[in-house]
């Protein structure tokens, strides 16, 4: 019997309809790879963080795939370098959610890019984990599928405040920042928190980061009787000038604040290495050496694995690598236990309790997608960096 053109068209239409209705979808879905859309800044100004996190992320994906994948499905890591540019992060996020139909987004890895990209990822209904600190980046109503596996800015400031007031037992505090949005917002947020802890904020100010002479403001702090300086800035020039000026004034008080205080950039701008003494920067308990010089057992095992994989640690920070390692593992655990649909992944994460990451122990609830534990945010000795990790600041137990 000859086949007519009408029959061919009917058959094609029926086939297309069958595919569209999804009769064969489960079979395809069960074998297709899990697509993780990954948005690191591998180049540009924020790339030092991105490169560190990337080492952990790549290792985690390689390990999961080598062990057979997630329920037999391999992870396909679709990487888009945001080049530290929020505009590129937005474009890349849209490409990953719409064109590549990513099951999950891991990133962006810095707050500027996440502020731009998170609303779009939420709009496309794709689950997301990011490690960015800006408080507004999780909101269970606006972004019900966005989860944070890192502390918030309030937690970071809170840890520094607690260290000053409750461990160092210092009450007269000088809080200073540069004039950037981050700096001024930090001072505005952390000063009331300090006062609530019973501290007396004797100096509060914002100074231009480029100002080469900070002595006038430091003299004001000294005259006000400050016992500790808490600078909030990511500008290594500004922070190093505070440290240098403190030494030149022969003013022996601690400086307690943001992680940049312990960065290599800050160190490079110090006039003498010993000026870095009594400077304590934010860090994370799981990635810090205790008084005996040992890392926690979970982290020791992780470091051994990094060494076996020949992953360099000396030119980056251990907590960046650990954070990068935890992201894909949290995604894999969710898909393994619940499935790869957005609501299945988010449903699993909403019930995660004390998930044992290398970077942090994470607990999420339907009402709170900030999972990092306050107890795991600590201060460390800024001048103690060794193989990417710092020593706990004096006063901590364990």
């Amino acid at each position: 019997m000859p086949i007519t053109r009408r029959q061919v068209l009917k058959g094609t239409a029926a086939g297309a309809a069958t595919l569209a209705t999804g009769v064969f979808r489960p079979a395809i879905a069960a074998s297709e790879p899990i697509r993780i859309g990954y948005l690191p800044a591998l180049t540009g100004p924020s790339s030092s963080t991105g490169i560190g996190i990337n080492r952990g992320t790549v290792l985690a994906v390689e390990e999961i795939n080598a062990a057979g994948g997630i329920n037999g499905r391999q992870i396909e890591l679709i990487v888009r370098d945001t080049q530290s540019d929020p505009t590129k992060a937005v474009n890349a996020a849209t490409e990953l959610t719409r064109r590549h139909k990513a099951h999950v987004i891991w990133g962006p890895l810095n707050s500027g890019e996440a502020l731009a990209a998170t609303p779009l990822i939420a709009r496309d209904g794709v689950p997301q984990i990011h490690p960015c600190w800006v408080d507004a980046l999780t909101d269970v109503k606006k972004y019900p599928l966005a989860f944070r596996n890192a502390p918030t800015s309030r937690q970071i400031g809170g840890a520094a405040n607690q260290y000053v007031v409750q461990i160092l037992k210092l009450k007269k505090v000088a809080v200073v920042s540069d004039t950037t949005g981050y700096g001024t917002a930090s001072v505005d947020t952390y000063v009331p928190m300090l006062k609530a802890l019973g501290a007396d904020v004797v100096y509060q100010g914002n100074v231009e980061a480029n100002n080469p002479d900070l002595k006038p403001d430091m003299l004001r702090m000294q005259a006000a009787g400050a016992q500790v300086i808490m600078p909030w800035s990511v500008n290594a020039g500004f922070l190093s000038r505070i440290i240098n000026t403190r030494a030149e004034m022969n003013w022996d008080i601690p400086i307690v604040g943001q992680t940049t205080l312990g960065s290599g950039q800050t160190k490079a701008l110090l006039k003498k290495p010993e000026y870095w003494d009594k400077v304590y920067s934010n860090n994370f308990r799981n990635c810090s050496y205790n008084a005996a010089g040992a890392l926690p057992p979970r982290t020791v095992e992780f470091v051994d694995r990094l060494r076996k994989a020949k992953i360099e640690m000396s030119d980056t920070l251990l907590w960046w690598i650990a954070m990068g390692y935890d992201g894909p593992r949290m995604i894999a655990d969710a898909i393994k236990a619940a499935g790869s649909e957005p609501e299945q992944i988010a449903g699993y994460w909403n019930k995660v309790s004390a998930w044992p990451g290398v970077y942090g122990t994470i607990t999420w609830t339907p009402d709170l997608h900030d999972g990092f534990q306050n107890s795991e945010i600590i201060m460390c000795q800024a001048n103690s960096l060794q193989d990417g990790a710092f020593k706990l600041a004096p006063g901590y137990v364990g």
């Binding site: 540009g44 100004p45 100010g205 100074v207 100002n211 080469p212 002479d213």
Partner: protein
């Protein structure tokens, strides 16, 4: 307190004055305010750190290389951003072209160098204290530059040719002076002076890509205060600005110090729009 006001104030003021002179030298040759002056200053610090700290050049060689880079940037500024818009000077297109060029330089430095401030090497083994080289080096550079320019403009034929084209470039051309080459040479000289400002102020301000806009603004203030085209006025304005800024840092502190500088700047311009040392321009009626 007085020590700090004087040492930092005069040193910063000298850097501002040198950037002001950079503006003036470019302006004299072209009637154009090139807003790449601050960017050249920033490059003086960045290339100083690159040549001496990173590439290990001897200080003298590194210093000369920095001046050469500054001169080269000055020449490129003239060719790329000034020459094409000279015919339509009244439309002030040079504001856009020179600012765009400065932004390009800044972004390139951010990408290729660093967005973080980098240390600047100690050039001479003097200091610390108020006699630290970071304070007197910019002052020495400023004094030498103004002296050198006076000698150049008043005692050499080339200097007089510079003055001729700045007074009336049409008449100068009619007399057979090579206007284009002289303008190019002026921009090279201005670039070298800008780089000198950044180099000698490098230890104070660090090798930082963000210094460009700051120097652009604070370098323009002495020009406006001292009168456009007046190098002596720029030096007086620059030193006064540095001392005032540092005094404001001590007296009011924080961001209010910058506000105080802006307030005085606006007040001076309201009272004497031609600047403290400038003369009101005559207008044909």
């Amino acid at each position: 307190m007085i020590e700090s006001i004087v040492s930092y104030g005069l040193a910063l003021g000298a850097v501002y004055a040198l950037i002001g002179i950079t503006y003036n030298v470019m302006f004299a040759a072209s009637r154009v305010f090139s807003f790449s002056a601050g960017a050249v200053g920033m490059l003086g610090g960045v290339f100083g750190a690159l040549f001496i700290d990173r590439l290990g050049m001897p200080v003298v060689l590194g210093f000369l290389a920095v001046l050469a880079v500054g001169a080269l940037i000055g020449i490129v500024t003239e060719i790329v951003t000034v020459r094409p818009v000279l015919k339509s000077l009244e439309q002030h297109l040079y504001v856009l072209s020179t600012l765009a060029f400065a932004l390009m330089i800044q972004q390139l430095v951010a990408i290729e160098w660093s967005t973080e401030p980098q240390p600047f090497p100690r050039v001479l083994p003097f200091g610390p204290g108020i006699f630290d080289q970071q304070f007197w080096l910019p002052m020495l550079a400023c004094g030498s530059t103004i002296l050198g320019l006076e000698l150049l403009y008043r005692h050499t034929l080339v200097g007089r040719a510079f003055l001729a084209i700045s007074e009336d470039n049409y008449a100068a051309r009619a007399l057979g002076l090579p206007e284009r080459e002289l303008r190019l040479a002026s921009f090279a000289l201005a670039g070298a002076i800008g780089a000198l400002a950044g180099f000698t102020g490098g230890e104070m301000m660090l090798a930082y890509f963000g210094n460009g806009p700051l120097l652009n603004f604070y370098g323009f203030v002495p020009v406006a205060l001292g009168g456009m085209g007046s190098n002596r006025g720029a030096v007086a304005g620059g030193l006064a600005l540095g001392l005032f800024q540092q005094s404001a840092n001590f007296l009011v502190g924080g961001v209010f110090a910058s506000v105080a500088v802006f307030v005085v700047f606006i007040l001076v311009l309201l009272i004497r729009p031609e600047g403290l040392a400038g003369a009101a321009a005559a207008r044909r009626v």
